[in-house]
């Protein structure tokens, strides 16, 4: 019996493998199907890690002065680095300078001496420019001129966490748009920003946010308005296709796309197009009266242009 059992068990295992292996290969929960090592190792947990790293980047943006999950986070609902980059709508309220409140006890008061205790942003010099008890910002370390020149470049320190966040969750669109903004706007790395956005677009081909950001690069850095217009029009089409049917569409993105298209059309004196996009801008704007004023101005410009137009083709005396 003892001698026959191992071969018997081996045969049973072999038989089970032949039936289980095809089932496992076709099973949707099979991580081995993914070519991504992180997806295999972490599964869906990588999204939680990606979000953690995105928040970590914002904590770096504040040089470590950041609320924990136990603190009042009303002033940090939207990461400031994303809000400053216009990658997300700013939904923050409350006091961002004093989310800790008054010390609860002597240990709390004592412990605050060992942690960053002032609200600063890296693009404004970070820990070099902060206030103590008197509330007046002052500097430590390098000379003020050095800070002025290099302070905003310190914003590069948020990039590793953003890159890690994108690697863990390629579907998190705001990671690409936020990173691209800081790369191109504060560090002058336009090519890197564009390449990163292209990576994002490959992972999210229907993202109107990434197309919009690519349009900004084309317009502001490449000085190619035709390409920018094409990208923004595609972004608008994607927005209308995917956001419009939603019960709560992303009006912040519509506002951005429509406003940039309207301003570009105004710059190129395409008045009818401009008025069309101003109408969309007005619909998405929290201040429609201001856009209405702009519409009136564009109407006036169009009227003036149509009066001037017949004189231009015949400049000869």
């Amino acid at each position: 019996m003892a001698r026959t059992l191992p071969p018997l068990l081996f045969l049973v295992s072999l038989a089970l493998v032949t039936s289980l292996e095809p089932w496992f290969q076709s099973w949707q929960g099979n991580r081995a199907q993914s070519a991504d090592l992180l997806a295999v190792l972490l599964g869906d947990a990588r999204r939680a890690f990606a979000n953690h790293f995105f928040i970590k980047a914002d904590a770096y943006f504040h040089s470590g002065y950041y609320p924990s999950i136990f603190d009042n986070r009303t002033a940090f609902q939207t990461p400031h680095m994303a809000a400053d980059a216009d990658a997300k709508e700013d939904k923050n309220s409350g006091d961002e300078d004093d989310f800790l409140g008054p010390p609860r006890d002597w240990i709390d008061a004592f412990g605050r001496r060992f942690k960053p205790a002032t609200h600063t942003h890296l693009d404004a010099g970070g820990a070099h420019t902060h206030a103590h008890g008197d509330g007046r910002p002052h500097t430590h370390g390098p000379a003020p001129k050095e800070i002025e020149l290099g302070g905003s470049a310190d914003v590069r320190e948020i990039l590793p966490w953003l890159r890690a966040s994108a690697a863990l969750d390629p579907q998190k669109v705001e990671t690409y748009t936020t990173t691209a903004y800081w790369l191109r706007q504060r560090m002058g790395k336009v090519a890197e920003a564009e390449a990163f956005l292209r990576d994002g677009l490959r992972a999210n081909p229907d993202s109107h946010e990434i197309l919009f950001e690519l349009g900004r690069i084309a317009d502001e850095h490449r000085k190619d308005p035709a390409r920018a217009r094409n990208l923004w029009e595609l972004a608008l089409a994607k927005w209308q296709k995917f956001e419009l049917p939603k019960t709560e569409p992303d009006t912040f993105s519509l506002l951005q796309i429509a406003s940039h298209l309207a301003l570009l059309a105004e710059r190129e004196s395409r008045w009818d197009e401009c008025l069309h996009y101003l109408g969309l801008w007005k619909a998405a704007s929290p201040k429609p009266a201001e856009i209405e004023k702009r519409i009136t101005e564009v109407h006036a410009k169009r009227a003036a242009a149509s009066q001037v137009k017949p004189q231009t083709p015949n400049p000869k005396p």
Binding site: F70, R104, I107, F110, G111, G141, E157, L159, R163, K189
Partner: protein, 258 residues
Amino acid sequence: MTAALAIAQLVLLELLRRKDVYVLFFLTGLITLVAGAANIFEDARVVRYVKEICLTLIWISGFVLAVTTAARQLPAERESRTLFTLLAKPVSRWQFLAGKFLGCWLACGVALLFFYAFFGFVAASRERDVDLAGWFQAASLQWFMLAVPIALALAGSLVWAAASSNATLTLVGCFGIWLLGRHLHKVALGLPEPAGTLLTLLYFALPHLELFDVRDLIVHRWPPVPWLVWLGALLYAAAYTGLILNLAWLLFRRRALN
């Protein structure tokens, strides 16, 4: 005092012979260097994430080294029966305990010296200015903080027979305080009675190891802590260590050796 110093010297030599510290140092170095080699958008001046990873590994290594070294002292002496020989000679139990503590603490200090030298090398290779005062404060605060887990592990080895269970429980406790200690009072305020009061009592009774963690100040280049505050923190650690060692001595004094 001479007897305590002799015992401390033996502990220090034992740590140098063991491989724990070398393995921890190698792992810290390897992970830090691999992280530092990452290409972050072709920018070689990005340094803060490397500093944070390195300092976090130093903190974890510090805890592991301190607790595992301290937790095995008494069980090892008891198993090899050298405890009886030592205490039979004119070495009091207090001297024995003080010697063991001093040895573990000095061993941690020596290890931290190498760890922080490596950290300084990594940071200085990418940063323009060197924050020597900040690094000194970080290393000294961590060294004094480690005195508390060492004392806890020594006391624990009088309560739990096995070194492994003592080390595990002490490490869990230390990591818990390090990560959550500062938030206990906030959580307690939102809890119903009597849980709120109990958690508040726990908050005030625990040694707050997280106070000594100045990683954020170092990583983000904040100015050093005022020196009087730094001194206060060292005294806080010394007071807790003295208290725990006294409790350990009381336990040890009444404990039958066999």
